[in-house]
Symmetry: C2
Subunit: 405 residues, 2 copies
Amino acid sequence: MADKLTGNLLVGQSGGPTAVINSSLCGVVQEAMKHEQIQGIYGAVHGVEGILKEQMIDLRQESAETIDLLRQTPSAALGSCRRKLKESDYGRILGIFQKYNIRYFHYIGGNDSQDSSYQISKLATDRGYELRVIGVPKTVDNDLDVTDHSPGYGSVARFIAIATRDAGLDTEAIGVVDTVKIIETMGRNAGWITAGAALAKEEPDDAPHLVYVPERTLDLDQFLSDVQRVYDRLGYAVVAVCEGLKNKKGESIVASGSAIDTDSFGHKQHGGVGDFLCDVIKNKIQLKARCDKPATIQRVSMIAASSVDLAEAYQVGVVAVREAVAGKTDFMVTLVRQPGKTYSCTTGLATLVDAANKEKKLPDHFINPEGNGLTEAFLDYARPLIGGPLPRYARLKKRLVKREG
Amino acid sequence: MADKLTGNLLVGQSGGPTAVINSSLCGVVQEAMKHEQIQGIYGAVHGVEGILKEQMIDLRQESAETIDLLRQTPSAALGSCRRKLKESDYGRILGIFQKYNIRYFHYIGGNDSQDSSYQISKLATDRGYELRVIGVPKTVDNDLDVTDHSPGYGSVARFIAIATRDAGLDTEAIGVVDTVKIIETMGRNAGWITAGAALAKEEPDDAPHLVYVPERTLDLDQFLSDVQRVYDRLGYAVVAVCEGLKNKKGESIVASGSAIDTDSFGHKQHGGVGDFLCDVIKNKIQLKARCDKPATIQRVSMIAASSVDLAEAYQVGVVAVREAVAGKTDFMVTLVRQPGKTYSCTTGLATLVDAANKEKKLPDHFINPEGNGLTEAFLDYARPLIGGPLPRYARLKKRLVKREG
């Protein structure tokens, strides 16, 4: 057991808000309250932005009930940011830590946030300022490499799975009007969120019929022939696409698509990948197409939050404080899936430098050979994360009444 | 009490699927099973499309459990359609009714569907074919005039309210990146769905800060100055807009906007009103802007369905069959709000011709004088329909730590 390090704790939230990042905040605060060496429990307003401005909330002033309610409150209650720190910022931050006797620092976020934590931790060591830095993972993008999965991902995957199933039933019911439904999901470089759509499928003909992730380049001719084939078989098609889809040259397909679109003058196009692909479908294979783009709703929606995700997000917050109190520093808490038939996860630690610098994309064996769907291996990986099966719906047998005359 | 009319019942679903149209179907089927004069219980596959093709499902072949599950199943389980019938179709339909001894007809839908029912009912009377036609209201657009509100509306309003609140928290947390958030809702001519966003607001500074409905023409300069004013006060802005927004000439603002946009060549623009307004904001007042467009997800999402809406949708189905069995015909079931402080609704009847031909828009006193928000009168009207308060979230007091030195 390390010597007791007495001082204040600072927690911050960074990057895109999620349904569960406040659960991690709650875990940090509730665990911190159990340790007498932790005096002030401070929350950075808008992450490192607030630290640099010396804007910190006194979380001990909040009622126990409010802190508890954080577990069911989406978005980032402290405020978030996307500031990429400069070299000179780290010195300023450390100076502020010294001024406010911050001895425990927990930054909840993705790769960039873990990198910020790493730089601060390194500088503290260099300057001989005793500081315990344990990062808390969070990203809907699920692209932190050192953890089995990241808090935030299970909930966005559940939202996209439910949205895809519901939009699929909608399209099946009224395919005569909305023949091709495109669901555009978030994800710049990694297709984890888009892949979540695959969890909607229970029977072979269920939506989604096609899923395109940025780990594969999109060939528009192949895409159109895929859509046409589904339409020919079912009379409608439901397609999940990632906002980050790129062509062979590595350009966004929206920017690159002007050559095949009506607008060949290179003018700025409104909308994203989904609207663009709808127009391509209308122009090239003359099918009606429509895009659903839940955008930020997908990442913060509490109504579809995964119970597993919520619990794990809380737990990584708790463990971060426990490990710091126990003397650890310069780590990020990870989720470690245990072997066995029933899903279970424990926590582990990865060094901050490892957490910061590796981006995890969908591995090859999670994507089908055609590049238009996910494999069973992906489904096995993702299914436990969304917190139980999707709500049960009726499926009519649809026995036709015998034709008369 | 009318003579017992023995024969088969046909139920169909029409127009855009909703979260609750299957609850109405369930109500029709479960009530029909209680009446011995109703023999076959048939479901039209894709509404009038299926009738014309003599494609009907035998709903007595479905298990009681499946029928019951319809109450929690979104979209239109029988399949829906948008076919506008021609004069000659009505004769064909009546011929098919005679051939299959259809004596009870319940079409679940909006204005057009009630008009189809009206035409079929009139022709049956003219030809002396005894037929009981009682329409069942359904439309997320809430534009049926003869009923206090329409089943489907409460659920889409709840979805939009929750989405707006969550997206608002997201924007508040990370306004530095997504400074202006636009939520584009459905609604071609009436702003009921967009108005639902107003239910997200609990405190004066909560999202949405601005709401634009098609009952008022959109002036882009006024819009930009509204957005700028909110931004100047809060540092971010959340705006709900209707997909059907029009300019003073009655044109869609997307089609009409090329003059002020970068593209002045009249080229086809991807995306809708929301993406268009984001680009206008970026170009004219240089704020970052982003659009959430849940599209069909909003109308079918069961995860945000209103318990009141689900119960009422079931009830109007039940009552339609009861009234038909009691001898009534040529009516649509309506919802009649009762006076008093606590919300309660009974059912009534409106003639099909009245139900078909009146479109209900937001009345003037539901829209604020500035044309950028809703009034208390609207909130009083809509709040009971969404089935109880929105989920409770934590609100931090945010007492700042005293600045050192």
